[in-house]
Symmetry: C2
Subunit: 583 residues, 2 copies
Amino acid sequence: MYRTHTCGELNAANIGQTVTLCGWVQKTRELGGMAFVDLRDRYGITQLVFDADKPELVQQVKAIGREFVIQVEGKVIERESKNSKMATGDIEIAVIRLTVLNPSEVPPFTIEDNTDGGDDLRMKYRYLDLRRSAVRKNLELRHKFAFEVRRYLDEHGFLEIETPVLVNSTPEGARDFVVPSRMNPGQFYALPQSPQTLKQLLMVSGIDRYFQIVKCFRDEDLRADRQPEFTQIDCEMSFIEQEDILEMFEGMSRHLFKALKGIDLPKLPRMTWADAMKYYGSDKPDTRFDMRFVELMDVMKGHGFGVFDSAAYIGGICAKGAATYTRKQLDQLTEFVKRPQIGAKGMVYARVEADGSVKSSVDKFYTQDVLQQLKAAMNAEPGDLILILSGDDAMKTRKQLCELRLEMGSQLGLRDKDKYSCLWVIDFPMYEWSDEEQRLMAMHHPFTSPKPEDIPLLDTDPASVRANAYDMVINGVEVGGGSIRIHDAKLQQKIFEILGFTPEQAQAKFGFLMNAFKFGAPPHGGLAYGLDRFVSLFAGLDSIRDCIAFPKNNQGRDVMLGAPGEIDQKQMDELQIKVDLKK
Amino acid sequence: MYRTHTCGELNAANIGQTVTLCGWVQKTRELGGMAFVDLRDRYGITQLVFDADKPELVQQVKAIGREFVIQVEGKVIERESKNSKMATGDIEIAVIRLTVLNPSEVPPFTIEDNTDGGDDLRMKYRYLDLRRSAVRKNLELRHKFAFEVRRYLDEHGFLEIETPVLVNSTPEGARDFVVPSRMNPGQFYALPQSPQTLKQLLMVSGIDRYFQIVKCFRDEDLRADRQPEFTQIDCEMSFIEQEDILEMFEGMSRHLFKALKGIDLPKLPRMTWADAMKYYGSDKPDTRFDMRFVELMDVMKGHGFGVFDSAAYIGGICAKGAATYTRKQLDQLTEFVKRPQIGAKGMVYARVEADGSVKSSVDKFYTQDVLQQLKAAMNAEPGDLILILSGDDAMKTRKQLCELRLEMGSQLGLRDKDKYSCLWVIDFPMYEWSDEEQRLMAMHHPFTSPKPEDIPLLDTDPASVRANAYDMVINGVEVGGGSIRIHDAKLQQKIFEILGFTPEQAQAKFGFLMNAFKFGAPPHGGLAYGLDRFVSLFAGLDSIRDCIAFPKNNQGRDVMLGAPGEIDQKQMDELQIKVDLKK
């Protein structure tokens, strides 16, 4: 061992001890013939002192720069000017020996919480970026998070079972990454988008309670919060009903919040998907703040304002205390909702003045009497700002209003990253209509069970059938979701029919699972959490990237490793494939 | 919840309770108007009784077959004829309600510990194979094993950090699996053979103590004990010396043996690689039994037996108590060592008779006096059998003698799967000569540090340089291995030179790691265990396959999933690749 202690553990109790420390030079400074070095490792920073009466040591310090790796031997002494912000701030090390273990070139950016390095540079030198405690702390949190997940599930009888990474290409879902097989020329493995079918097979195997923290892969065009490889906490249980799953995993979240954040999570409210859409315009409502949608068709329609009179939906939100918004701020909000990503045509606002009167942007169409009805409907008080959107497609308009609500929540400081609001969204629809495919598509996946009471509707109105499917939502982020699966072959057959598969197509696509189900499938269900997102939320991060040690950029590249890259002709010959670039 | 209890937990304390159980029908039988069902789940088997006075229930039982999934409600009653072999053997359930949750076709093989299913059938229906407790127990053990690994490493300050699966193709080592990148046409990711370079980068990052239980991939032709994807316990530490690594991971093994097998592992002996080769002809000696090699050049050479007189190596083993071996058994041993996989030319034996005299197969060349010297050299006693091999290549002959020793160990019952003998093999050579490449190759990998005292030999006799490399060996299986890495850029440069890389080649192949090392690499080292092997050993398995939920066969196929398989032309067009089958 090169050291007796780490740079994070020495304190007043160690005064007088002779110790050896190792680490990286955070900074050096000289003062009246003395020298000081802040020595850093994963565990903290310790101040080193080189006394003026040891000039050869002070000379050595002059030769070392930032990020040199050094080893020092010295005596723990009390600091004259203590630093209560540092764990080691009561002491310093009077150095008697200094060894340079490895020099360092000047790093391309400063290794500080507030670094001067831009994103690209930090990604290229990710190994230096990870030295910053702001980034490293996320990895520490991720480690603890995964460990506590495992502890909880182990205590509840779940077995972690590794499923293969080299699997078969799955029908439906996103695009697969594929791997050419050398031993089976012309054939390809696929990397799993999730172990969905494999975990269902494990239920057929009688494993009863399965989980896995597992890498999954999707070859999709990347957005800010997506990575081509991501990590799931994948879980499945047998002989259970939806209630059992919700209980079990609410318990897991409670355990995680307590163990990692010291937060006692209250009982999770449950909101139907229909209510979530109605009141928040989203299946993952941010419930840290209220500002629910109020439908205003009754109040605002039929008063001669053409936009509203022709609308299929009119809805408003009440921003408490925002009546002070200036014309400029309101114009910016209008611009915000008119951006192509949101797509609203315009926005109507109404202020509740101190005297209780309402002043709106469409005053010429509405009497004060109607505006007072609006105020009442919105439950608005003096000082509040009412914002209204309308449109000819209720669902689309709700989604626009959702964006406006979230923006107002942010502007009013209602989306505190240290506050957590968790809920279950339940009763998802079984199907959603695909304009592209011109057919009903499974909203979750084709093995999701309908709610038993809705089964008769499969024949008459499949689009209205609700599923035994559920999502866990925290602060507007879907951290996990799942469903009860169909274990009845006949019901499964009917679901496939509704999805437009012939029995032959169903067999071709899902044959191995359907065959397995012939040999005694238990009732089962489960869910999967996105570990990256869940950890990001705990870490208060805007992007999942900073809780991933070596993330990829938006082009799917690891700029540090230089992956992907070209491969040898020999390798392609062995695989019997060819690159065939489009002109 | 479909049940109040599992099939493994009811006992005499539950008598009188009304319970609901679910599970699979192991077997049914009728007896004098009554019916009995053995109901099975992951947790055990419980006997169900259907009383003759409930004929409609007995009738229901007649309609159910093996592997049906059923739910029963009933009363826990005391069994008349108790079965002390079963955890639930004191009770049975007097059933009052039976519900078939799912029927089952007749399974293609029996779901029993001793099944009638062959390997291929079991692999095709792996989900049924996993219902057998003999297989399921291995997965349970694997779960516990991995959990205890994590517990130990977490307690010792290691962070589990996920490294990417989509990486760059690595030079040296085995063949990579590659993944064409759609977003970067013509370029490929590689799947990691191990996270070796990434964990070294994490040390450069100051992570200090890293581990990961991680899938690794090698596209090699498969042997019995190899899978294209396998799982490593991958570990690395900073500011340590070899001794620290050995201590830390000896501690982990001790923890695992205690927690999972109830075994107090003694302090692990350490054997140099040179001694392992000299005394066991293997770098992974099975030390459950002694039977060490004795070199017999001094004793047996120069007596006119041409085979020995011309040999570069003569070595023997003493099989205690095997003097009773018949001529036929000895002939079979000779055939064994002459098989092409082993390649010996022949075998000489000598029996020590009850009166102490020695009788050998080459008596005409040796006086009893010489044979007594042989007996003394071999430390043989009356009743022992001495087996001798010779050859013109010492290393090859030792390897042949190793095979003979292991075979004798097996024949004499000295390789008990419930007995564990663990050791460290240390001081591996840095290099081994490659006949194929006609150059020295890194025995471990090119980042392995030489022993400091051997560094001067790098210039004069590189082949004799020993490395700070070590393997953990249990019962003749290498369960893990690693090394101290080079952190000094100049030394690394020299090692590359010896391996025959120009500075340009070294930069091209290992550039990103070398660049990282310029910014302050700490002294570091680590090791990796093969989880599949380690668990197999704990489970007493001959093959790693049975501790893997969904293994692949020798052609790299998952016959259950049908992977690999063909993919759509559309997918290939998107990836801009083509299959190009050799004629």
